[in-house]
Amino acid sequence: MIKTIVNRSFLWTMPAILALLASLVIIVIAFEAMGDGWSRWVQLFNQRLFELFSRTLSLMALSTVIATFWGISLAWAVEKTTLWGNRFWRWGLALPLVIPPYIGALAFLILFRETNLPIYNLPVTALIMAAFTFPYVFLIVSAALRRMNTNLEEAAQACGKSPSGVFFQVTIPALRPAIIAGATLVALYILGDFGAVSILRYDTFASAIFFRIRGSLDFSGATIISTVLLLTTFGLLGIQRFALGKCHRYQQKTEDLKEPKKIPLGKWHFPILFYVVLVFIFSTLLPAGVLIYWSWLGISAGTIDTSFFQYLFNSLTLAGGAAFISLIFSLPFSYLQVRHPGLLTSVLSGAVFANYSLPGVIVGLALILIGLNFFPFLYNTPLMVIIAYLLRFFPQNLQAARSSFLQLSPNLEEASQSMGFGPLKTLFSVILPNIGPGLLAGASLVFVSSLKELPASLLLRPAGMDTLAIRIWMEASEGFYSTAAPFALLLILISIFPLRYLLNRF
């Protein structure tokens, strides 16, 4: 069936190109890591690699648990209940995605510095990291909830199950692919993030890699730690594969005429609303408030001029280009993952996921070597930055697309064929209407992540292509927070529009 829907070679070509690029990054890193022989490995292992390993894993585990809990519970409250204001929460709770984590962490730091509370510890760091990452779970689970066929839940309810019984025995199992997709994004993000963890002074693999690169100018040491990080990622992906198992439940939403019934919250309305508002304040209002205060200081000091719009244009072009290409690649790639799971597909997706968990500076440096040696005509062009964004964030698009595909039964495609629809017609009238929203949502994730991206942009941009994120860094790294803040605020504002637009058509 698949062969007739889309030409098979087309289907494999695009994922293969992307995976090849991603593999080149991995190969460059592994090659550099082997360069100095085993003695360097032994030396690094003897120092603090094991300690870093356990610190990184504990932060990752704790943040992922918190973010997943918030993501699922908030998605359920917003999509399934009569919660007050749920049209706003639907996109309002995705807002932390548009706050650059290094700026957010800085804002928290400055807020809490006055209080003398101990903040440089695992629980606080995990909470703050979860505040910036839970929307990955929230978005993907919300989308799944909206597409979910409510017949099962209604049947369970009719059979006398309590609301919590329905939730745990029907809803959650049906959401498993979406939950795992979101949790994987959170876990891998934590592995590769440097900005926020360094501000919170929590050492992870990523901060060790940065110390090697920045403090000691030791690229081969950085690649050795990166290799360990890559192996950790592959381990996690193995766990993800195991957790997903083979039990796919296809259940696309039939064209219901009636809106699915919302659960009345009754006496629980106020506590649940309180919880939602609390998460919103912590993850969005507090950092945004600090930013607005700084911006006010900065704007009244006259830091804004016309160059501002050039940076804005650069940011939009680069992030837009990356999101656009990512959107195109995500269709065949997610199709392969769902309809053709197997060793080859796992290898292809393993390569792109590995890049997602790597710190941007390592991807950037590897791309410099790759660009110089294989694509000199691309070097020093904006396309290098776009390729970096694509490699760094494509899995966000893929996870969203894939969880949509997992809910689309292949029977529909077969039915379309048997009705005499050609492959293109099937694609446009059966597949895209069902998974299009998932693809777009994924591409919007790539867009907002690219807007915030810093390390690879700094390394790879051609002259004159400074982005807003770069300007923020330039000012903030020198401690001129009030000069940085208007840029950060603008970055957030321009991210909100695509986010809202795309979320409305989920």
């Binding site: 002074r201 000691s216 100018l217 690229f219 440096l365 110089l372 390394l459």
Partner: protein, 334 residues
């Protein structure tokens, strides 16, 4: 479908429109853009030579220059630290600057083969808030910071900061490995407040949140310029007879080996060494000019008015890796 094609066409136009001008001078810079841009602008206006400035982290550009060794893409590297430039010289990616005008810079502030030269000086000083600690009780030497009375009362920058690594490398060059390790261990045991950057330190000292901060001297100058919280004082450490003196680092410029626009690069260096440009630069950055004829800002101390640590800046590059392993051993890592 139509929207899709329009979007595709748009990106195609944007990317093909971004062709690069080959004849421009390309600079990788680890320095704050505002300090450099006015000088580059004037240079372009006077000479007609286009300049493309890429600002970012000096270490990242150092890696990029090494990666581009066989196919150099830039002409000059502006760095805020001698150690990193010397590191690049040892890696063989720099070439000597052949111009007579660099003779105005004293030899101790240049590479042995002149492949990098200092433009301005930045001395490591202890700034303090006299409301928190009285001048007679303020530390007078670097080693004072390890004393019990200063426990938890001083701030350091994050260990990834190049100025900090260079300072420790200088100590390593002066004291040797054993004494440096001891000192650093005691320093870290004395509970320093570790802040993100030097600006955070100067502001924290200005607000009186911490008594003392180890910074480059121009951060002290910058804090004096603030409208509020500007009651700060400075100690140039280790000035007494028999003491080692303050560590004087430089910010400067290096010529990249195989630079595509070498001649223009030399013109820019000559331009930057003119007294009026040196003056302008020190006014923008609050750093100390190295040109002997250029006066310092009235609140700054001239470069020859205090005792310097007697080490070769050009020795910093080779000791750099060892310094980092000392820092890792004592747990002063990011």
């Amino acid at each position: 479908m139509f929207k899709f094609l329009t979007l595709a066409l748009f990106f195609l136009l944007v990317f093909t429109g971004c062709s690069q001008q080959e004849e421009d001078l390309v600079i990788y810079s680890g320095r704050r853009e505002q300090f450099i841009e006015p000088i580059l602008k004037e240079f372009s206006e006077k000479t007609g030579i286009g300049v493309r400035l890429l600002s970012g982290g000096a270490p990242e550009y150092a890696h990029r220059i090494i990666a581009e060794k066989d196919n150099p893409q830039a002409d000059l590297f502006f760095a805020n630290d001698a150690g990193i430039m010397e590191f690049l010289r040892i890696e063989g990616v720099l070439q000597p600057i052949n111009t007579e005008s660099l003779e105005v810079i004293p030899t101790q502030f240049r590479a042995q083969d002149n492949s990098w030269i200092g433009i301005s000086a930045r001395s490591r000083v202890l700034m303090y808030n006299p409301d928190v600690i009285s001048p007679e009780k303020a530390p007078q030497t670097l080693e004072d910071l390890t004393r019990e009375e200063f426990r938890g009362k001083f701030a350091l920058t994050r260990p990834g900061n190049a100025s900090m690594v260079s300072h420790i490398t200088a100590l390593r060059a002066y004291w040797g490995e054993a004494k440096t390790t001891d000192f650093l261990e005691q320093l870290i045991d004395n509970e320093p407040l570790i802040l993100h950057g030097h600006t955070d330190i100067r502001q924290a000292v200005g607000r009186g949140e911490i008594a003392i901060g180890l910074v480059n001297n121009y951060y002290y100058h910058l804090q004096l310029q603030e409208a509020n919280n500007n009651n700060v004082k400075v100690v140039y450490p280790d000035q007494e007879e028999g003491q080692m003196g303050a560590f004087v680092n430089i910010a400067g410029v290096a010529l990249i080996s195989g630079s595509p626009g070498e001649e223009k690069a030399l013109k820019l260096i000559e331009f930057m060494l003119q007294p009026e440009q040196q003056k302008k630069f020190s006014e923008l950055s609050f750093e100390t000019p190295l040109h002997p004829d250029v006066p310092v800002l009235d609140f700054a101390r001239p470069i020859d008015s205090y005792k310097h640590m007697d080490i070769e800046l050009s020795s910093l590059g080779s000791l750099w890796p060892e310094t980092v392993s000392i820092m890792e051993r004592v747990g002063y890592v990011d």
